[in-house]
């Protein structure tokens, strides 16, 4: 799916959880993505991260590290 749209959505999620606490935010963001994003959306954003992940909020980027990757 379009990386720019996925990045915008991930950054919106990051904005919310950032306000709840910087420390817990990456895990909360990752949990949200696991619970609500179809696997192909997670796959595509991880692929984008692998290409550099430009434009991703730093907390969202940290969250991506916590997402399970299918081998």
């Amino acid at each position: 799916m379009q990386p720019d749209k996925l990045v915008r959505m991930a950054n919106q999620i990051a904005d919310f959880f950032k306000a709840q606490g910087q420390t817990s935010a990456p895990a909360e963001i990752a949990d949200h993505l696991v619970k609500f994003w179809d696997p192909r959306m997670r796959r595509d954003i991880l692929a984008y991260v692998d290409q550099g992940g430009a434009g991703l909020d730093p907390l969202a980027r940290q969250a991506m590290e916590l997402l399970p990757r299918k081998s």
Partner: protein, 948 residues
């Protein structure tokens, strides 16, 4: 079958803790203090003659038919206006009373057309009944004197006639308009002999302020106000109680029938959501059910530009099954999905999600709540533990201060609005938070204490500022918070909202709301007694929709306004069964009962019952489906009863997504806009043609009862079942009650629900289970479903949708009373008399700056697209804000809206779109292109062509 008869007790019921015992015609009766003699008599089965009294409005005492004698009291008081007293001895039948009543009837009949045999109300006329009851045999005055029988009828209203020659000036209609509906459109014009009912000042009904709710027609004891359908068809001979298929109020109606022909829909007094009231849609706008546009045969085609070919049901099911299996074989199991309908029954939505999860083998199921109240589900589940409103509608009767935010109840939820206005007229206070000056801000005998006309997109800032005032001015209900919430979470939240950047003065420039108004509103809400918050899509359809829901929940928690009647957080749900469709597991991440698909224990329940392994991964949400289609990974879609091309945002993106799919199946009543991009059309059935249940905004599960056979041959649940069977599923329900039994067996909050229970109780509100066998009118009493109520930090994040030189105005969208959602139903009724086209509301300054006048055609343009529509110049909207509705497909308001959405749920940001408006002299290129495609797409091949 026979007509469902309801007793008319003459005057409204009285609530009183003390009772009074009196004797009527020698028989003792005990009633609540304050009850009228008339009602006390009716409760013991004695009918006192009456004409001006009916139990939906207060006693008036004008007709003098209900006179009684009271031992020890002089004269003959009217029983409707005389309250009972302990030890009172009443006689309702004496020679003197008979004489007086007969004399009154003589006067009435001396000025009444004697056309009973050809009168539309023949057989259902209280005047006729009373003439019989009092034994009227002659009229000594004759009929030659001055009278009103020559007066002309007003036939302007599309649904009912007004015949002043039959008016007995009992004022029941005027009082119904005032007390029940709250519009105050009717009056008695003239004095003495010239007195007659009049809508407004020298206007006909259609031109007047009348909202055509039908309360006056319902109240009229003669044929003065009468449904045109009764005049045309005749009196019904049987009736069935069912539930309206329009908005989320869920009004109960008697469908009054003559054979299998619907004669009229009459609001059911025992309906617990509507209490005997109705609006123009539910009462009158049911003609779409038999409209000539209904498609009754299945159709298929290879390409969306081909003409449709009619096929048999079996061919259609086999075709869909083959196509979906082909797609899954070619592109993967996740390449197909479906959309459940919030207009269909609980049982039908349950079946669709079951077919997708168990038959398609994935969780690609979503519903229209995605684009309306999905943030409510997420927000309230986070705050309270349950994805639903906290109260019943009756609760408003105990409310002292109401906040209405992002909702327009008089248009969107009119029957609830009438109940709310009644409470406001009794003295409750009102705060409206809305960019537009909605009718509730100021209308007859209702005026908001505060209207906060915020800039679209700043809800979070305003609600957080309200919380700032509550916390910093010491207005928190600390005991409530300590008892029912996590104190340390509260402290964190209180510190957050107390920050000066959230002060009303700090956000005034951003929100456009004067700080003093925010402060005043917050103080009123926190200190005014029972505070209730009602909200709508103006809250949810934003990039921060979920955050606003949480901010609202915070405000209710901090002020202790939860867990009892009169308070609460109340989402006004849009469609008739949008609550139910969510309850039934229509979201891609949740099974029925809001249990996540990753929950092993829940999955095991369904896997055991359905006999297949189920996916533990969330599926695609509706907007994601279009993205995935354009990406090539999603190719097949089954859409039951939803017109996504017209209702979903960024129409060009939606149609591009659908065009990229290989098999789109539309299951609907009409060839809607989505069908223009479909390969298979499966005809749907109306709510009159099937059994089932709808769940309204107050979690009330109401029965839907079949009153006629499906014109297409199958109820929608049968169509889904046959499709599932064609795909190899063993689905063999014989009746929707069996589906409800399965829902109850698998879903804890529905464990106590069955058709037997609904027959017995009329309706129940979930949770209905062992802990709450009679249901739950008010939730979270003595604690929250999640344990402690949760305070959530609600940081304001401006939307990415910005105004600028190219697009300097903000568009916000909504709906109007007479039309419903995409208008597929209401546009096929006479409701178009009130709203034949979508209009662009624009402030006079903005219009003048652009050289636009009332009625001019204008081009409305955003970064997503453009359309044209006519301008309505009004100061209802603030400068810089424009507003339109989305009821008409030729306008396609959603060509303008963008693909921005709520952070948590992807609920689209319909309410904030940066636009420009300019004079126009014709349709946009998109409109021209769309019209051409529609004409091409809607062709149906005649059988000879089909055979070739």
């Amino acid at each position: 079958m026979s007509l469902v008869e309801e007793n008319d007790y003459g005057t409204p019921a009285v609530k009183s803790a003390t009772t009074v015992t009196l004797t009527i015609d020698g028989e003792a009766v005990t009633v609540p203090a304050g009850t009228s003699i008339m009602r006390a008599a009716a409760e013991m089965g004695t009918k006192v003659p009456k004409l001006c009294a009916t139990d939906s409005v207060k006693a008036f005492g004008s007709c003098r038919m209900c006179l009684v004698e009271v031992e020890g009291r002089p004269g003959t008081p009217a029983s409707c206006t005389t309250p009972v007293a302990d030890g009172m001895q009443v006689r309702t039948q004496t020679e003197r009373l008979k004489r007086l009543r007969r004399g009154m009837m003589e006067l009435y009949i001396s000025d009444h057309p004697l056309d009973c045999l050809t009168c539309g109300a023949n057989g259902d006329c209280e005047l006729q009944d009373m003439a019989g009851a009092v034994g009227l045999r002659e009229v000594r005055y004759g009929y030659e004197g001055e009278n009103h029988t020559h007066m002309e009828k007003d036939r302007s209203n599309p649904y009912f006639d007004y015949d002043p020659s039959k008016c007995i000036v009992c004022s029941r209609c005027v009082r119904a308009c005032e007390e029940t509906q709250g519009t105050f459109a009717l009056t008695i014009e003239g004095r003495g002999f010239d007195s007659r009912v009049s809508p407004g000042a020298h206007e006909d009904f259609l031109s007047s302020e009348c909202v055509s709710c039908g309360a006056c027609v319902q109240a009229c004891p003669t044929a003065t106000l009468i449904e045109k359908s009764i005049v045309e068809i005749g009196q019904p001979e049987h009736s069935v109680v069912t539930t309206c298929a329009y908005c989320g109020v869920g009004c109960s109606f008697k469908a009054e029938m003559r054979g299998d022909e619907l004669v009229r829909m009459v609001p059911f007094k025992d309906g617990k959501a509507n209490r005997g009231h109705s609006c123009v849609k539910g009462r009158f706008a049911w003609g779409y059910a038999t409209h000539k546009d209904r498609i009754l045969k299945p159709m298929v085609r290879a390409r969306i530009t081909d003409p449709w070919q009619e096929v048999s049901w079996e061919e259609a099911f086999a075709h869909v099954a083959k196509e979906f299996r082909r797609i899954q074989g070619q592109y993967g199991k996740e390449a197909v999905g479906g959309i459940t309908s919030s207009r269909c029954t609980n049982e039908e939505t349950y079946l669709v999600q079951k077919m997708i999860r168990a038959g398609f083998g994935n969780n690609n199921v979503d519903t229209c709540a995605r684009v309306c109240h999905s943030p409510t589900g997420y927000g309230l589940k986070t705050a309270f533990g349950t994805s639903a409103g906290t109260q019943d509608f009756d609760s408003v009767e105990e409310t002292d201060v109401v906040i209405v935010i992002g909702a327009n109840p008089t248009d969107g939820h009119p029957v609830f609005a009438s109940r709310l206005k009644k409470r406001l007229r009794q003295g409750a206070r009102l705060i409206v938070i809305d960019p537009r000056r909605i009718d509730l801000v100021k209308s007859a005998h209702v005026e908001a204490d505060y209207h906060l006309p915020l800039r679209p997109g700043t809800n979070v800032a305003v609600v957080t500022a309200l919380a700032h005032v509550v916390v910093t001015e010491g207005l928190v209900d600390e005991q409530f918070v300590r008892d029912f919430c996590d104190w340390s979470e509260f402290e964190d939240w209180a510190a957050f909202v107390s920050d000066p950047r959230h002060a009303p003065e700090a956000v005034e420039k951003l929100t456009g709301v004067p700080a003093a108004s925010i402060r005043g509103a917050a103080r009123l809400f926190a200190t005014g007694g029972n505070g209730a918050i009602y909200y709508g899509l103006g809250v949810t359809e934003h990039s921060q929709g979920t955050t606003t829901v949480m901010a609202i929940a915070n405000l209710a928690l901090a002020t202790g306004n939860l867990g009892r009647p009169g308070v609460g957080v109340n989402p006004l749900r849009g469609q008739n069964n949008v609550q139910g469709s969510c309850d039934m597991g229509s979201f891609p991440h949740e099974f029925p009962g809001y249990r996540h698909v990753s929950d092993d224990a829940t999955r095991e329940i369904f896997e055991k019952l359905w006999g297949v392994p189920l996916s533990n991964e969330p599926g695609l949400r509706i907007p994601n489906m279009f993205d995935a289609a354009l990406d090539g990974s999603f190719k097949g879609l089954y859409v039951q009863g939803e017109d996504i091309v017209q209702s979903d945002p960024d129409t060009k993106h939606v149609t591009a997504g659908l065009s990229a799919m290989e098999c789109v199946v539309v299951h609907d009543l009409f060839l809607n806009e989505t069908a223009n991009y479909a390969h298979v059309f499966l005809p749907g059935s109306t709510f009159l043609e099937k059994d089932g249940t709808f769940t309204n905004a107050e979690r009330r599960i109401n029965r839907v009862r079949k009153v006629m056979a499906p014109k297409n041959g199958y109820a929608d649940w049968e169509v889904t079942q046959k499709l599932a069977q064609a795909m190899g599923m063993a689905m063999t329900y014989g009746h929707p009650s069996e589906i409800m039994d399965e829902i109850a067996a698998t879903t804890p909050s529905f464990a106590g629900v069955s058709y037997e229970k609904l027959e017995e109780a009329g309706s129940v509100q979930w949770p209905c289970n062992e802990k709450a066998p009679d249901g739950t009118p008010v939730m979270h009493i003595g604690g929250f479903a999640r344990g402690k109520g949760k305070f959530v930090i609600t940081e304001y994040v401006p939307t990415d949708e910005k105004t600028g030189p190219r697009f300097p105005l903000l568009l916000t969208t909504g709906r109007i009373l007479s039309q419903y959602n995409v208008g597929a139903q209401t546009r096929r009724t006479a409701n178009t008399a009130w709203h034949p086209e979508d209009l662009l509301e624009m402030h006079p300054h903005d219009a003048e700056n652009r050289g636009l006048k009332e009625g001019d055609w204008a081009r409305l343009q955003s970064r997503a697209g453009e359309t044209t529509l006519r301008v309505k110049v009004t100061d209802r909207v603030a400068p810089g804000v424009v507003y339109t509705t989305f009821h008409h497909p030729l306008t396609q308001a959603n060509v303008i809206t963008t693909d921005y959405s709520d952070w948590a749920t992807n609920c689209p940001e319909y309410k904030v779109t940066a636009v420009q408006v300019a004079p126009s002299n014709g349709p946009s290129d998109w409109q021209e292109h769309y019209r051409e495609h529609t004409e091409l797409s809607r062709r149906i091949a005649v059988p000879e062509q089909a055979a070739e």
